[in-house]
Symmetry: C2
Subunit: 118 residues, 2 copies
């Protein structure tokens, strides 16, 4: 990994319109748990991911569809199973957007501080 990374255009969330759906997809406990499970356990089928969950298989399917729509996971049909896995690019986009507003906030708070001190 190179010390300086340039975030590629296609993973950057340019503005609120891009970023909001992404954060909305992350804004659910069950979905964050799913991402955690895919991360620690590797790719898995719906039944596998639903096993041990509080909610039904169909609920898990819906959550996976939401994550998929946000671009955070992808799936592939393998035999009678559909196997889901992480799609890291859009997570990088969320990251980039948070970095973006963090910098904005830092600047804003710095300006305020300067203003108060003057």
């Amino acid at each position: 990994m190179s010390p300086v990374e340039i975030t590629p255009r296609h993973v950057r969330a340019r503005d609120a319109r891009d970023a909001a759906p992404l954060f909305a997809a992350l804004g659910d406990e069950t979905r964050l748990a799913l991402l955690g499970r895919l991360s620690s356990g590797g790719p898995g089928s719906i039944a596998h991911l639903a096993h041990g969950s509080k909610v039904s298989r169909q609920a898990i399917t819906k959550h996976l569809e939401v994550l998929s729509f946000a671009g955070l996971v992808t799936s592939e049909k393998q035999g009678r199973e559909r196997v889901w896995k992480l799609a890291p690019e859009r997570l990088a986009a969320a990251h980039a957007y948070l970095d973006h507003i963090s910098r904005q906030w830092d600047d804003a708070l710095e300006r305020l501080k300067t203003f108060v001190e003057e």
Copy 2:
């Protein structure tokens, strides 16, 4: 700013239960726009923030309450106005959580890669 920063405990989102409401609060275009406005324009009253917005003053009030509940903004009554401003700590928490899952994803993908290569 020191080169190495240790994220304080109180701004860290420890698990999905902490982080989900935070992302949910960020998962709305209008709210992201509000945060952007507070960031670029500094603290502002409700009427000020609502001016030029697509939605009504009351809608803005509700969005500010959501952001406030998530800990992303705070307000203070000044005369007949209520002035809202950014609260950077919880944004840092969202940031920390994204960092956390980014690392998890990197590790997971690395393990997968290794597994495939073996």
